[in-house]
Amino acid sequence: MIVADRKKIPEIRDLIQSHRRVLLVGCGTCVTVCLAGGEREVGILGSALRMSLRLAGHADTVVDECTIERQCEDAFIDILAPRVSEYDAVCSLGCGAGVQALAERFPQTPVYPGLNTQFMGILESQGVWTEKCAGCGNCRLGEFVGICPLTRCAKRLLNGPCGGSQDGVCEVNPDLECGWQLISDRARNLGVTDKLNEIAPPHDWSTGLDGGPRRVVREDQCIAGLGPKA
């Protein structure tokens, strides 16, 4: 899932304080699960922002709250449309995709982010989320026994480990497990260490973010005659 965490209250207040009526919009998908932008967090932020605005001399700014099932799909945003027309601005507690989806759907309404979107990851333990995927567009987990060196190794080494791996810990940060230690241990458990003797070729980053926003097109799913733009 996409993991995000909240922005500080003063930062959000500064973004919205020039508006008279602001709608906070939560998202019921990834950011609800990572406890950053669901219904409960929208309630907390709403309360905190109203107080902060009053203390900053903007007592007349109205901040209301709502949460939709998913901000990154137009079908779910439709439910929101009648409400948004009543507000001067929207503050989204969705991920970056959610914020941009709302901005595209409501061209006349300023849309601000309430969260800092962090990464694609998983819940490691209660209250702790860890990055697992860099979304490079060219998955090589099959070569590395299911552990991604591009994400888990601080130096993104495809032929590791480096000399900075000590007792399973990365030299970059003592709280960071060495990704290559994890790969080696798992390869040993699976009895496939010989796989790691092969030199891994450099990664093809042409599928990465550098070429601008990426698209996945499924011609068979596109509406006939309208193509991928429809």
Binding site: P10, S47, A48, M51, L55
Partner: protein, 160 residues
């Protein structure tokens, strides 16, 4: 009353609420600035309850739960303490003094301790001054009554 601080006390049904009752039975004297709001357990407390209280303009909030290790629901009071810490971070960001919010632990047998907690908090809040978010007295009391009714509804749901 307008110049006096108003404090809301979220009290656990199994300890602090009984301790407040005991303080009354013992005819203990403590400041009348506190409004007691009963929860089935402090573990029921959410950060937004605490912020809602400050948004309504109360000057201080007490969260009173069981002694650590003595929670009727095992760890509700420990969870509450972490939520109180989180709410204090929010208060600091908002621009209110985090000291306006404090969690205490006590048992149902500690009526005098309840009186002491209230006395301590009232003295602290008097030093900090009134909340800059405080509306007029009647609106404030109404806000607290609304919250109290919501809490009682929760408690009724808990009994079912």
């Amino acid at each position: 009353m307008d110049d006096e601080p108003l404090i809301l006390a979220f009290c656990c049904h199994y300890c602090a609420y009984a301790a407040a009752d005991l303080a009354g039975s013992m005819r203990l004297q403590y400041p009348g600035n506190v409004r007691v709001l009963r929860l089935p357990c402090t573990g029921k407390l959410e950060v937004n309850y605490l912020l809602a209280a400050f948004e309504r303009g109360v000057d201080g909030v007490i969260v009173a739960g069981c002694l650590e290790g003595g929670c009727h629901f095992l760890e509700g009071n420990l969870r509450a303490r972490r939520r109180v810490e989180r709410a204090r971070q929010f208060l600091a960001e908002i621009g209110l003094e985090p000291e306006r919010l404090e969690m205490f632990n006590l048992s149902s047998a500690e009526g005098p301790r309840f009186a002491e907690i209230v006395t301590t908090m009232v003295a602290r809040i008097k030093q900090l001054g009134r909340s800059p978010l405080r509306p007029d007295a009647s609106h404030l009391e109404q806000g607290i009554q609304d919250m109290s009714q919501q809490a009682e509804t929760l408690l009724a749901g808990d009994r079912r």
